[in-house]
Symmetry: C2
Subunit: 334 residues, 2 copies
């Protein structure tokens, strides 16, 4: 068992002090070319890698970011995590990923734990609406950014989608197709309330009225989407279109429609949200409101890094715009 070389081993082998070695590694101070070469050579020979714990102890960065996400097994979040990690890698950061299951206790637990581990900052994709613990962190100057969630009443940096616009686009698109009776599937979280607000706005502008069937559901799963769609489809006011607030829910809607023998898009149009892998593999492929997931991941990573480096002094909110991605689950009524 070869033990890893330390800065002392390098110093000894190079006949210099550890201070000198430290300086050539960090390119601080003035060291002669000759010494530099010598030290680099020894570093090479010994395969020396600085211990990051030790430098972190001295106040340096750990180059590690905590990513708190509801559920990495959810395609939207796994795609988002992927894009964040990609950018992190380019910038030299690692991600420790924590699944919160939308539970505030889990979020708080992870927050405390990772703080002990000296992560450089946090990216929150979890999205609660009571952020006391997060507020504490911010007060302590710990860099925190949110992504894919919006908290208009909370002073925190982040990148989010214009959810209002997303809902507006969904309704406009469906209305453009001639639909009058559109039901909505959504879990009761802020972003969905925004989407619905945008949705209603478009409805009003076109003198349509909002669904009679609407009710919030408990979780964003295929099964939940299926169950509520069954309900809508057997109501006295059968919709000609459904706006599901994410692709998973929309996939459930598709399944329910099939079980009820109503063909999509002929008798029922379904529009999803997110444009994840899901939208491309269900049958029929899903028309959906696309979130620029790649861009969101990159932006939020850039944001947190600029906060860590101290460049980003003012609060900033980056809003990305959705766009409708047409596929085959929607149909013209006219």
């Amino acid at each position: 068992m070869k033990v890893n070389a330390t800065i002392y081993d390098v110093a000894k082998a190079a006949n210099v002090s550890i201070a000198t070695v430290s300086k050539v590694i960090n390119e601080t101070g003035h060291i002669s070319e000759k010494t530099k070469r010598k030290v680099h050579q020894i570093i090479e020979e010994l395969d020396y890698k600085p211990n990051m714990m030790a430098s972190a102890l001295m106040g340096k960065q750990t180059k590690t970011i905590g990513l708190l996400i509801p559920d990495i097994a959810n395609p939207f979040f796994s795609e988002l995590a992927r894009s964040i990690e990609d950018r992190g890698q380019e910038l030299g950061y690692n991600l420790v990923i924590c699944n919160t299951d939308y539970k505030i206790e889990k979020e708080n637990k992870y927050l405390a734990l990772l703080k002990q581990k000296s992560v450089d900052g946090f990216i929150l994709a979890s999205g609660f609406e009571h952020l006391e613990e997060v507020e504490k962190l911010i007060k302590e100057k710990t860099p925190v950014a949110i992504v894919a969630r919006d908290f208009p009443m909370f002073s925190i940096n982040g990148v989010a989608l214009d959810d209002f616009m997303g809902g507006y686009q969904a309704a406009s698109y469906l209305i453009g197709l001639g639909h009058e009776n559109i039901d909505v599937i959504a879990r009761d979280v802020w972003s969905n309330r925004e989407r619905i607000r945008g949705f209603k706005q478009a409805l009003e502008e076109n003198n349509r009225k909002f669904s009679m069937n609407f009710e919030y559901i408990g979780e964003s799963t295929v099964e939940a989407g299926k169950a509520i769609t069954h309900k809508y489809l057997s109501s006295s006011n059968i919709p000609t279109a459904i706006f599901a607030c994410n692709d998973l829910l929309a996939a459930g809607a598709l399944q329910a429609a099939k079980e009820n023998g109503v063909s999509v898009p002929e008798r029922l149009s379904v529009i999803g949200f997110d444009n994840t892998l899901i939208a491309r593999i269900v049958e029929p492929p899903l028309t959906t409101i696309g979130q620029p997931i790649q861009s969101m991941g990159k932006q939020v990573m850039d944001l947190i890094v600029s906060m860590i480096s101290g460049e980003q002094k003012e609060k900033i909110r980056i809003t990305l715009l959705p766009s409708v991605v047409e596929r085959e689950s929607t149909n013209n009524r006219m």
Copy 2:
């Protein structure tokens, strides 16, 4: 900006030495009840949390594990990562997740980087077949376990699926349904070679011969699955069934079948592998060889932790068995 309390602050406030504080925290040595209470109280008041970097420097664990995975956006891996993280959380470990894209350079880079960050061990879901760097780590006594990949010629701990059995089950099931002409979709990696070996075994036992159309594909994506299926379907030897080595590929096969106007399962049966979310949402829902993903995640986490703690001295290989999950993409020919 309130600075975090250190062990010195606690010691001072409690009128004891830092040695004493350390002892009550770690429950080592003999400390009077009274002192313990006092110290705990101060810890509470100051909201003191030990800095894990500092203890890591003294040789303690960081309670962090590196997870190297090809692509977290792939549903199989995101579900696997989820189950590993779940178990990690129960055991008090965090996961730093790295996407390797099946690239050996990326894997090596991450390995070196995370070692610098003093992770307690590595879980590799990546699966390369030349593991020199990994071998080095093992020599240095760094705990490393593999999951969902098998390396029979490599002495490393891990938990894997019995891929041979999976292929055997797939073939047996399809043969039981009366299929004679089964094509295979697979990327050229060890586990798929094993699956195909098992597949051929079952074929032989039933006096069937292996597909004439077979060729390995370059990547495991929906698109690749679709492309190769188009090819198979327009060959001179049209299959009545397809065995896709993962659900994504199977989803692609479904799409190609639809585009060619061949209905599934009436004219073509398709069987997948993994039993991910994908299998439940495509149309028709996929019959697939199910991997016990939850169990794999738990087992590999338990394994790495027991290696870290030193309990697991001998090399161990845990093999889990697949099972066929029947849905609607396969059909009886008879």
